[in-house]
């Protein structure tokens, strides 16, 4: 199987965010592989381990995004490609999906493109479906399990998380699959993987290299970014001699506050 996993570099989720010059700033918090993408990398590796083939990690972003790709290589991906271009710096999801779709075409003969459910920075969660739409592939988003995958029949069955239930869907390959945390437990990078990753020369593709000329302009713009006002609540501690007394007081207060 020719498996691609699309990854993004994001600030660590423990980072404190603020706004500096109209942009998000995470201070000196480290940049990491988007935590959701770790599940996608793991699933890509498991797919290869079961069905053979290779896994390519693909990212679009600034040159520093190479580190996220190195993390993917260290986990066990065979190859990595970075799509980077000054013209892509202000990309919205529409442009990002166009670039990733073009890169997937250039890689060629891809059977599955895995994605994490969303990126923890922009939180849009639309890129996977947009790439699928552009390529005309089935879009299997929010996948929590892959009960069947048969490369010879070119068929994949997944369970998708919906609010009300899990939907079991069968589709043909190639397909786009975005995964949620429940699907697996990501492995740590191995020492061998770390060494291979640190030595790897990651090919860099420009917009022209993937045939994205001219680069479409972003449709969305972001006139303002704000840190939401901190809600200063002072906690009222409920005390009482017995749990019953505490419960009675607390419930009265909740009714007064009209939250029940």
């Amino acid at each position: 199987m020719n498996v691609v996993v699309c990854v993004k570099q994001t600030p660590d989720t423990a980072a404190s965010l603020s706004v500096k010059d109209g942009r998000a700033s995470w201070g000196d918090a480290p940049l990491v592989l988007n935590p959701w993408d770790e599940y996608a990398v793991e699933q890509a590796l498991r797919t290869k381990e079961t069905h053979g083939g290779k896994v390519t990690a693909l990212s679009m972003g600034p040159t520093e995004a190479r580190e996220a790709l190195k993390q993917s290589l260290a986990m066990g991906c065979d190859e990595a490609v970075l799509v980077t271009d000054p013209a892509l710096a202000e990309a919205d999801s529409l442009v990002t999906s166009a670039a990733l779709a073009a890169a997937l075409r250039k890689i060629g003969d891809v059977d599955i493109a895995f994605f994490g459910k969303q990126a923890v920075d922009t939180d849009t969660g639309v890129t996977a479906a947009q790439v699928a739409r552009r390529l005309g592939w089935p879009s299997l988003t929010l996948t929590a399990a892959i009960p069947a995958l048969d490369p010879s029949q070119r068929s994949i069955t997944v369970e998708r998380m919906m609010e009300e239930s899990r939907q079991t869907v069968r589709a043909g390959l190639p397909a786009v699959v975005s995964v949620v945390k429940e699907i697996n437990e990501p492995r740590y990078p191995s020492f061998m993987g770390i060494r291979r990753a640190s030595k790897a020369e990651i090919p860099v593709w420009s917009a022209a290299d993937i045939g994205l000329t001219p680069v479409p302009a972003a449709v969305l713009s972001w006139p303002e970014m704000i840190a939401p006002p901190k809600v200063e609540v002072s906690c009222e501690f409920i005390e009482g001699a017995t749990p019953q007394e505490i419960a009675a007081q607390l419930v009265s207060k909740l009714f007064e506050a009209k939250v029940i």
Partner: protein, 348 residues
């Protein structure tokens, strides 16, 4: 008549989540800005009652694409239909509630128009004829204003509970049009459904009771002798704790949530996780039991209207967010609270 604002009526087997009606209510204002009414579209099978409900909730004109072959949500087919409808109607603004289905549907239709999609909108205003939307990013640690001035339709998905749910008007009238649109190629086949583990949906719940790692913290409970593995003993203890959490939740019909620590420890399925790598929720009341309040958890629940924290450690960060705090053992407090709720709500 062609309405400039179209609302997508998301539903599962003909039942719309509250977010669908919230979106319909919120659309009214945007439509008024454009001297337009609100149109709505639903795709599925057996949707007459949904159309009637939509009119009661404020739709002026409902388009139904109703066919047994569309019973199951399939994004490709649904996107084909909606794209055609948006073209035919020359819609300026298309609004959807944010659910697992619509995020994908909106994304695909946006590609068809090479237009923008703004998910998870919590507020908006009309400026110079376009919608400038506010949406949380970085799990709500920041908000960004986002606008598409270049293309139509503007596509926005509205976050659950960001807008009030409109009161249905029993006698309200509106037009219903049935469309016969056949989607193109079927690229996926739905084989069936399995029940979700989470019970009451976290994103729609007005009350959530959540448990953290602290639920296993009761040394007085001794696991049955046949459980010898310490990890399994811990999980057994946690399950006793979560039984108390569930009991409390069941009285007011609340959803059950959990911290990442509790999910990672194997106490409860991931579907229940609240936080940066789980669900972001915004209920009226969030009761955090044995949750210390790591920054990642806070990111998922800090916009709750009122937070109650029950924790043994008075200095736990969760108390900084909480309106009401109880310093104590959840094994003592939760049963008392369950009884009290049941009495007050007349369920005893």
């Amino acid at each position: 008549m062609a309405e400039k604002v179209l609302v997508y009526l998301d539903h599962f087997e003909g039942v719309a989540p509250p977010a669908t009606w919230e979106t319909l209510g919120a659309a009214k204002g945007l439509a008024a800005d454009r001297q337009s009414g609100v149109a709505a579209v639903a795709v599925g099978s057996g949707l007459d009652h949904l159309a009637a409900q939509a009119i009661q909730h404020g739709a002026d004109h409902v388009f139904l694409v109703d066919s047994p072959s569309l019973k199951d949500f399939r994004p490709e087919a649904y996107a084909d239909i909606v794209t055609q409808q948006l073209r035919d109607q020359a819609v300026e603004v298309w609004i959807l509630p944010t659910t697992s289905r619509t995020r994908e549907l909106a994304a695909m239709v946006a590609v068809d128009f090479e237009t923008g999609v703004t998910p998870d909108v919590i507020a908006w205003e009309s400026v110079d004829g376009v919608v400038v939307a506010t949406r949380p990013i970085y799990a709500g640690k920041l908000h960004t204003r986002e606008v598409n001035r270049k293309r139509t339709p503007q596509i926005l998905t509205v976050r659950s509970r960001a807008f009030p749910i409109p009161e249905p008007e029993a006698g309200r009238t509106g037009e219903v049009t049935k469309l016969a649109i056949t989607p193109g190629h079927a690229v996926t086949e739905v084989l069936g459904y399995k029940p979700s583990e989470a019970g009451v949906s976290l994103s729609d719940a007005s009350i959530i009771v959540s448990g953290g790692r602290g639920v296993s913290n009761n040394p007085n409970l001794s696991p049955p002798a046949e459980i010898t593995d310490p990890k399994q003993q811990e999980i057994w203890r946690a399950q006793q704790g979560f039984a108390l959490v569930r009991a409390l939740a069941s009285v007011p019909g609340a959803a059950v949530g959990a911290s990442r620590a509790a999910v990672d420890a194997g106490y409860i399925p991931y579907a229940n996780q609240v936080g940066q790598t789980g669900k972001v929720v915004s209920p009226d009341l969030y009761i955090a039991c044995g949750i210390s309040g790591a920054i990642q958890h806070q990111a998922g629940m800090r916009t709750s209207k009122a937070i109650v924290a029950i924790n043994r450690d008075r200095d736990a960060p969760i108390f900084k967010l909480a309106r009401f705090g109880v310093v104590g053992d959840l094994y003592d407090i939760l049963p008392a609270l369950t009884t009290e709720f049941a009495t007050r709500l007349g369920k005893m």
